[in-house]
């Protein structure tokens, strides 16, 4: 899977899986979405998820 491939559009995950990605990123990386908000489309790609984790770490 390329970093920019939409995991939803390519059928690898469905849009409901975003909820599980949110829960996983919260628990594993301690990211608090309450202040930054959830951008579901960002979580549709590997690059988007990595960018999110990266920006939260900074």
């Amino acid at each position: 899977v390329a970093d920019d491939t939409s995991l939803v559009a390519s059928g690898l995950i469905d849009s409901l899986a975003v909820l599980e990605i949110v829960a996983y990123v919260e628990a594993t990386y301690g990211i608090d979405f309450a202040e930054r908000g959830v951008d579901a489309e960002q979580l549709f790609t590997v690059r988007g998820i990595l960018d999110l984790i990266d920006s939260a770490a900074r």
Binding site: L19, R36, D39
Partner: protein, 462 residues
């Protein structure tokens, strides 16, 4: 269907992906496509938005006598400036989001919406003879609901740290969108539009062809609606009815059924429920295709608003495909904010609360804001009267979506054979029945809760 015919249909349906058609379009419009860079397109769209930002408030202030005493040009211009000032203030707040007070950063949307409710409370407090102030405030309350969700997307851009490199021009484009629509922001905000914006002349050509395809589809669904009027309902005003010599399936429109004007047999009543659902979907598809078609012509190749919901195999899938931009509004402004704040250790409860907040409470709140005229008059009983049936619709919708989401999650990870025709038909019937029935309480008609419930019970033979 033969393979050749299938290929031909596919080719027509995918004309925006057909290299020959794209090439032809690019050759025919080369100078225009080359001149319309993303920057120039945004400037043109911002000018159209600015025109609307001036026209609409002046129109509301000078021609709303049933809500408040109409004002003149001076009040209209004052309102235009105030609204543009609010827009610029929100833009600055979004740009400096990290420096806002903590309470605003934690609840930016509630802060934004409190503008509306404070303005409404002040309007109520002013005596009818308060003159220009009351006129301007009244206009503010009438116009603001159409801007609130769009300003919400602007705030969201700030919250997500996406304001860098954007200007007021970029955000004005979707605040007063020239592509029209409703209070629901078709195309959402700049984050979403920019993600789907054509950056090359080839991408612009593809986007425009995709838009033209949507206009063609809208025409097809309009024709289908006209056919339904004659063939299904036998509407005497329909030319199709006249052409058929009055022959029709004899189904009955919801308005007559809910009002008790018609008492068909059980089969006709149920078929009328399904026909009404089809009609609602087609109507929404026509409007959505026209709006999204314009967006695509302008170079924003965004998702359709309605995408084959009648073929959805589950309640949640139908909801995702039926009214995409409304679903997105509820998800972004209600579902996710609840999901990331409440019941984190309990996944099922977390999802239930978020779904209830979005499809239930958020849905009601959205429609409450649609009643800005009645609210302005302080007619709270009138507001409740117009919304009380919808309350049950929203609760049933939210419960249905939640159950469907849980079922979908349960299915995930289990390799299942594709459903056979029988199973597929059963699923479709289940989805149609669910949405057909809840529409009894959701349709925006003047019928009472009791009338709607009586009709529902009659469907069960009571």
């Amino acid at each position: 269907m033969s393979a050749g015919l299938r290929r031909a249909v596919r080719r027509v349906a995918q004309l925006h992906e057909d290299e020959a058609v794209v090439g032809l379009w690019r050759r025919a419009l080369r100078p225009v496509l080359a001149w319309l860079t993303p920057g120039r397109r945004r400037t043109l769209l911002a000018l159209a938005a600015l025109y609307e930002a001036i026209r609409r408030p002046i129109h509301e202030v000078t021609s709303n006598p049933e809500v408040f005493e109409p004002g003149g040009l001076v009040e209209g211009v004052a309102l235009v400036l105030i609204l543009l000032g609010v827009f610029y203030g929100v833009y600055l707040a979004a740009r400096n989001f990290a420096r806002l007070p903590g309470v605003v950063r934690r609840r930016p949307q509630i802060t934004l919406h409190s503008l509306f409710w404070i303005a409404l409370a002040v309007f109520w407090a002013l005596p009818p003879g308060a003159g220009a102030l009351r006129v301007v405030l009244g206009g503010f309350v009438v116009v603001l609901p159409a801007l609130l969700w769009r300003l919400g997307y602007l705030v969201m851009s700030g919250q997500r740290g996406r304001m860098a490199g954007t200007t007021p021009r970029d955000h004005l484009v979707y605040l007063y969108p020239f592509w029209g629509g409703s209070k629901t922001p078709y195309g959402k905000g700049l984050d979403y539009l920019a993600r789907h914006e054509a950056r090359t002349d080839e991408a612009l050509a593809r986007s425009q062809l995709a838009g033209i395809k949507l206009f063609a589809l809208a025409l097809v669904w309009k024709a289908a609606l006209a056919l339904m009027d004659g063939l299904v309902y036998g509407d005497p005003a329909s030319p199709v009815t006249r052409a058929l010599g009055g022959a029709s399936l004899g189904l009955v429109r919801f308005g007559r059924l809910l009002g008790g004007e018609a008492h068909p047999g059980l089969l006709v009543a149920w078929l009328s429920v399904y026909a009404e659902l089809v009609r609602q979907v087609l109507k929404l598809a026509v409007r959505g295709h026209e709006v999204v078609g314009i967006l695509r012509l302008a170079g924003f190749n965004v998702f359709r608003n309605t995408y084959k919901p009648l073929l959805a195999g589950s309640i949640v899938e139908f909801w995702n495909r039926y009214y995409f931009y409304f679903k997105e509004l509820l998800a972004e402004f209600f579902f996710f904010p609840t999901f990331v704040r409440w019941f984190k250790p309990r996944p099922r409860l977390r999802m239930f609360a978020a779904t209830m907040m979005a499809a239930g409470a958020g849905n009601m709140y959205y429609h409450l804001l649609q009643r800005e005229g009645t609210l302005l008059q302080g007619d709270l009983a009138g507001v409740w009267w117009s919304l009380h049936s919808r309350a049950l619709y929203c609760v049933l919708l939210a419960a249905g979506i939640y159950v469907s989401m849980v079922r979908e999650q349960g299915r995930r990870g289990h390799a299942a054979a594709p459903p056979g025709p029988g199973s597929w038909a059963r699923r479709l019937l289940g989805v149609w029945t669910f949405y057909g029935v809840i529409h009894i309480w959701g349709l925006d008609t003047p019928h009472t809760f009791a009338q709607r419930t009586r009709f529902f019970l009659s469907l069960l033979g009571w």
